[in-house]
């Protein structure tokens, strides 16, 4: 059962995001870059959550290959889906930050931005890969192999791109615990928490929607409304073939 607790979670998330935005705009001190710096309070936590989501999807894929439970594939798929959406927001906000802070929309000297682009390029092929495999069982298996490979690639890519010696730009929020004044640190961690909540809520929403759709399909089939012999539509999204009994 995925719908359980969704309402309270959504309310908490909405509250946390509102509180974070209020804190970012009205409470956080303006430092070196003035108003523009506020985008960092959203950009950096969003980026961290995106990457954690990709790695989590890899772990879910490990669980899928280990247990052969298609629900783990569904979880992994939804995690990558949500992280991809977050990732686009990260690239856009990062680009705005680069334009404001360094004068260019894109800065190759910024290793975090570059490795993030690489990771997004890789994950952009996840849905086409799924779509190109018709058999649902093999689709799930291959997608899990992809998700694990890419999940390992995420931290490694960051490490290697960062090795490049040309990167000399100041790292504003690099050393979070060290060089941030107290109030900024509080806002940063608050944003971190609310972005995590947002990710989890969206993940749960999509899981619930997929689950409900599968249940509905099953009920329709039981009622004889849906014809079983209708050709199944090819899809990149996994579908639950059997609904686990609610527990």
């Amino acid at each position: 059962m995925y719908g359980k607790g969704l309402r309270s979670l959504s309310l908490i998330t909405a509250g946390a995001v509102t509180l974070t935005l209020a804190a970012v705009f009205f409470w956080a001190p303006n430092a070196t870059y003035g108003f523009l710096e506020k985008i960092l309070y959203l950009h950096v936590p969003l980026a961290i959550i995106t990457l954690c989501g990709f790695v989590a999807a890899g772990l879910m894929a490990v669980a899928h290959l280990h247990t052969r439970d298609e629900r783990w594939d569904m979880r992994s798929y939804v995690a990558i889906h949500i992280s991809l959406i977050f990732g686009i927001a990260v690239l856009l906000s990062g680009s705005i930050w680069a334009r404001g802070a360094w004068g260019h929309w894109w800065v190759w000297q910024e290793p975090t931005l570059v490795s993030f682009l690489l990771i997004m390029l890789l994950y952009a092929t996840y849905q086409p890969l799924r779509f190109a495999i018709e058999d649902p069982e093999r689709q799930a298996r291959y997608a899990s192999v992809f998700a694990i490979t890419a999940g390992v690639f995420v931290p490694v890519c960051f490490g290697i791109v960062r090795l490049s010696p040309a990167y000399v730009h100041p790292r504003t929020l690099d050393n979070i615990s060290g060089n941030l004044p107290g109030r900024m640190q509080v806002v940063f961690y608050l944003s971190m928490v609310s972005m995590t909540l947002l990710w989890v809520t969206l993940w749960k929403f999509e899981m619930t929607a997929k689950h409900v759709a599968a249940q509905l399909r099953q009920l329709r089939r039981a009622l004889g409304e849906d014809h079983d012999d209708a050709p199944a539509r090819r899809s990149a999204a996994p579908s639950l073939s059997r609904i686990a009994s609610p527990n």
């Binding site: 298996r141 490979t149 690639f153």
Partner: protein, 229 residues
């Protein structure tokens, strides 16, 4: 029936693969031709007669990487279309043997391509003499080829039984190969510098070696799951 030793299975698969290539000439000649054509393209695209330093290293490595894609796309073609997978799965051999054989096949292809492409590059585009860069270049080529072969063998198997395999193979493998390209191109750049040739940045070599090892382990762990049906 006892399972055959993995090493002999790998040797047999590698022999079969190389014999297939020698009889059909599907991959390597195409890669030769592609590499030389790419050098010509770079000559006109960049409007340069001679290259040195990081530009030379980048042109050489991008060419080799794109040439490798041709082989990666075809690496499992016979297995998928002519029942090679079925035959292999029916045998009691360890499935990892197929991965090892494919990695070695790609390595052989890449070496064969480089035996032609690197001297041609030296003649056509490289400004400093190739001879002084060669010892270091061989080390970089070996590590770079290993990375390309490992990732190519894994992604090739992932892409081959999909409907858009010509598209998915390159699209999935290129982002995974960017760190390899970054390391080997940086390692090669000082070798092609006419002023202080011969200093090989070990840091990049160690990095690419670790990356190769990591993806080797990953391919070893995941390859079985691609061969289940």
């Amino acid at each position: 029936m006892t399972a055959p030793r993995t090493s002999s299975v790998v040797a047999a698969l590698l022999r079969a693969q190389l014999r297939l290539e020698l009889r059909t000439f599907e991959s390597v000649p195409a890669m030769w031709l592609f590499a030389v054509t790419a050098f010509v393209l770079f000559h006109f695209g960049l409007d340069r007669d001679q290259l040195s330093g990081d530009l030379a290293s980048g042109v050489l490595w991008v060419t080799l990487l794109l040439a490798a894609l041709l082989a990666i796309n075809r690496l499992y073609l016979a297995d998928a279309e002519q029942g090679g997978f079925d035959g292999f799965l029916l045998s009691p051999a360890d499935r990892t043997a197929l991965l090892a054989a494919k990695v070695m096949t790609l390595l052989c292809y890449l070496v064969a391509v480089e035996i032609v492409a690197v001297p041609v590059f030296g003649v056509l585009l490289l400004q400093p003499p190739l001879g002084q860069a060669l010892p270091g270049l061989l080390a970089v080529l070996a590590l770079g080829d290993l990375g390309i072969a490992v990732i190519g063998a894994l992604v090739g198997a992932l892409a081959i039984r999909t409907q858009a395999r010509d598209l998915l193979g390159p699209l999935v493998s290129l982002p995974l190969l960017v760190p390899v390209l970054l390391c080997v191109a940086r390692a090669t750049a000082p070798l092609f510098d006419p002023l202080h040739a011969g200093t090989l940045p070990l840091r990049w070599l160690v990095t690419v070696a670790l990356y190769d090892a990591l993806f080797g382990l990953l391919a070893f762990a995941l390859f079985d799951f691609l061969l289940e049906d």
